[in-house]
């Protein structure tokens, strides 16, 4: 079936199998491999992307469900001048990553979290990121990164 999706601000038209998962579509048809598959069961959140601004687990929905929608992946998050998005900057500075496999999903889930709640408490952040697993960091630096990004946003 034919779908048209705006991916990172660029409109894309593809003919996909109806059963194609959104994450497969992004990684294979769009060649955007920043979005990861960690578990295949929507448990780990490594595949998190934004669909019309809301975070979704792209391994748990069909590409067809994104038809007509607008998807932001980790590759589309940086500012147009190439500088890092404040959330990317915060993960970078706060050592919010080690192996980095969870990072794309974690960053996008955090961006979505701040859109809904610009001034989260530490607990809000932990609750908001509960659906994203990290096996390396023990989460504390990730939580710090999200709080730092929120503070930076507030300061602007």
């Amino acid at each position: 079936m034919k779908i048209s999706v705006s991916v990172n601000g660029k409109s894309q038209e593809h003919d996909v199998e109806p059963r194609t998962l959104l994450v497969q579509y992004l990684r294979e048809a769009c060649a955007l491999t920043g979005t990861k598959v960690g578990c295949d069961t929507s448990s780990c959140g490594a595949c998190t992307v934004l669909l019309d601004g809301e975070s979704v687990k792209s391994c748990t929905m069909f590409a067809a469900q994104a038809d007509g929608g607008s998807v932001t992946t980790i590759e589309g998050l940086a500012n147009t001048d190439g500088s890092l998005h404040p959330m990317q900057q915060a993960f970078h500075e706060k050592h919010g990553l080690q192996c980095g496999f969870c990072t794309a999903g974690m960053v996008l889930a955090a961006v979505s979290l701040l859109d809904e709640n610009p001034n989260p408490t530490e607990k809000d952040v932990r609750f908001g990121l509960e659906g994203n697993l990290c096996r390396c960091t023990g989460y504390h630096n990730i939580v710090e990164a999200v709080l730092a990004a929120a503070a930076a946003k507030e300061a602007k």
């Binding site: 496999f101 932990r126 390396c136």
Partner: protein, 724 residues
Amino acid sequence: MSATTIRSPRVGESAIRPDAPAKVQGKFGFSNDMWIEGMLHGVTLRSPQVHARIVSVDVTRASAVPGVHAILTHADIPGADVYGLEHADQPVLANGIARYFGEPVAIVAAEHPETARRAAALIKVIYEPLDLLVDSEEAITAPPIHPEGNVFRHLTISHGNPDAIGDVIVEGSYEVGMQDQAFLGCEAGLAIPDDDGAGVELFVSTQFLHVDRDQTAKCLGLAPERVRMTVAGVGGAFGGREDISLQVHLCMLALRTKRPVKMEYRRDESFVGHVHRHPAKLEYRHHASRDGKLVKVEARIVLDGGAYASTSSAVLANACCFAAGPYVVPNARIEGFAVRTNNPPCGAMRGFGNVQACFGHEAQMDKLAVALDMDPIELRLKNALATGDRLITNQMITGAAPVEAVIRACADVPLPTDSSGELLELPGGAGRTAAGERDRIVRGVGFAVSIKNLMFSEGFDDFSTARVVVDGGVATIHCACAEVGQGFVTVAQQIASAVLDIDEVVVAPADTTVGSAGSTSASRQTMMSGGAVEGACKAIRHMRDSDAAAGRSTEGRYEFTYEHHHRPTTTLDENGQGDAHVSFAFAAHRAVVDVDVDLGLVRVIEIATAQDVGKIINPLQAVGQIEGGIAQGVGLAVMEELVIKDGRILNASFTDYLLPTALDMPTVRIGALIEEPEPGAPFGAKGIGESPCISSTAAVAAAIRAATNKPVNRIPVRPQDLAL
């Protein structure tokens, strides 16, 4: 994977990882992300049987599927048909018998992964089930399930006077379940055959590049130099990538089809595609004098190694050598078995044998404190090892051993206040479905101390190689050390910039065109590859200084390749005695838990810790390792277990294998990182990766014991262990 630079961070500074910009932008290439024009996709057909004779394998229908390029079985292995890290006994593809659930039987390459999967499903394998051997204790005497027998290693440690008896004796039996590394990026690789078909290039996520290469070459029947390997971005490791998984399979398919082949495990396959932490049964008897001095430790330790050897012998050595913990113990008698069963193969995981032993010896220390009516921390201080003391292997500790300091610094951290009582903060957290009765929530505090040997032991020729080139004010480090997330890339830059006083340092991709760096395991890369980088840089600095002293220009190109060996170790003799280990690291953990004693639910509130680190190269990364290690230690204590029934893994998914989330992770308070330099280590730095997940587990178990008065003699602790 591209080379990256930072400016002038020196040793002791919180330099930011050079790969962080790529990782936060989704531009870092993981092994799972690789793609090349014309590549085929490989899949593995695995045995659904736990133990069975393979009567026949019929690939006729599978081969006829359009798009299938190769189906290979045991008969197609070009070289050695078995591999293994310490002892080659694991079939590349099952040879007439499948010995564990998920053992590879055939491999398929096709144009599309789904085509390959469909074809694999059409391979007709007839199995004749055999009796199962799934009990580790029975395995010691049961009829062999492998021509090489069921006992991988039987190790006895006899130290001091075997007849010594203490005034006070405590006994205990303990059990540890099977933990999974659960790294987030599943196994993946890409093999590209040489045009002439005489060799192959493999890009793979691994911990141990050169030994992967050597094992793979042997199985391919090729000289090692015909197999070139490069570390592709690694999505976590924790021991689970020390053995090979898909390496030989990929190369076999690429050489057969003359096409590049990519293979990527899915999560359910990853759970059967790598080794796990050994389940353990431990029986202890501790003797002490009335005044609280340890007199003797007796233990019997049985590790279930599963179907094949992997690193079981070395894991057993750790469990036995450190069975008494970080204490002075004049007399000891330890007997250990690592055995073969039809359970999933077990091998390396962060903590490597010390985790299991620590759960046992620390439970015993608490029991002893009760029997002596002594404060458990006082008891530990009274027996703490120090430099100059001997282990139960009779080895004298010559390096730093600030055991007393880590105990005191950890114990001195103020205790946390009571929880707010909000639902989310209660035991069970977000998963709690009933408010329960608040006065049935009991707080407990537990303490544990650990010892970990750093680097490889028992006479292993352990070394790392680094080539450093300085040209035009830029230093380039070429080292085969696998960066798996631990932060070697940052540490290497910091060491080089400190030694050379140079601002721009590039770490080139890790591959087999430079000498071996050994494994990224055993807390060894900061010391071993860090030592190699330091050695190469010092040599260049010397060359540069000589040129300057002679009035020659120092603007030219300098190159030096340095091989860093740690001091030699010996094997253990028939009494388990010998200088088998290089260096040791110590840590103390104090856990605070809240337990709902009716529901059997546990919430780990806080872990306080102090750790012996030698010298902190990068504070930010050091704390990152400590927090990450504690997460895995807490996971083993209260939630992480591969549930095995009759040899089958029942929970091979992230839906059913529970990992700590951001909500489960306790507060971590670091009392102190003790910097007592380790002789022979770069800048005196000790490896820090494993200690955090050794005694944190034991401390949580102790805290649950304190809260519930239940024995808690098995980890992970399950609700039914507490509430029934």
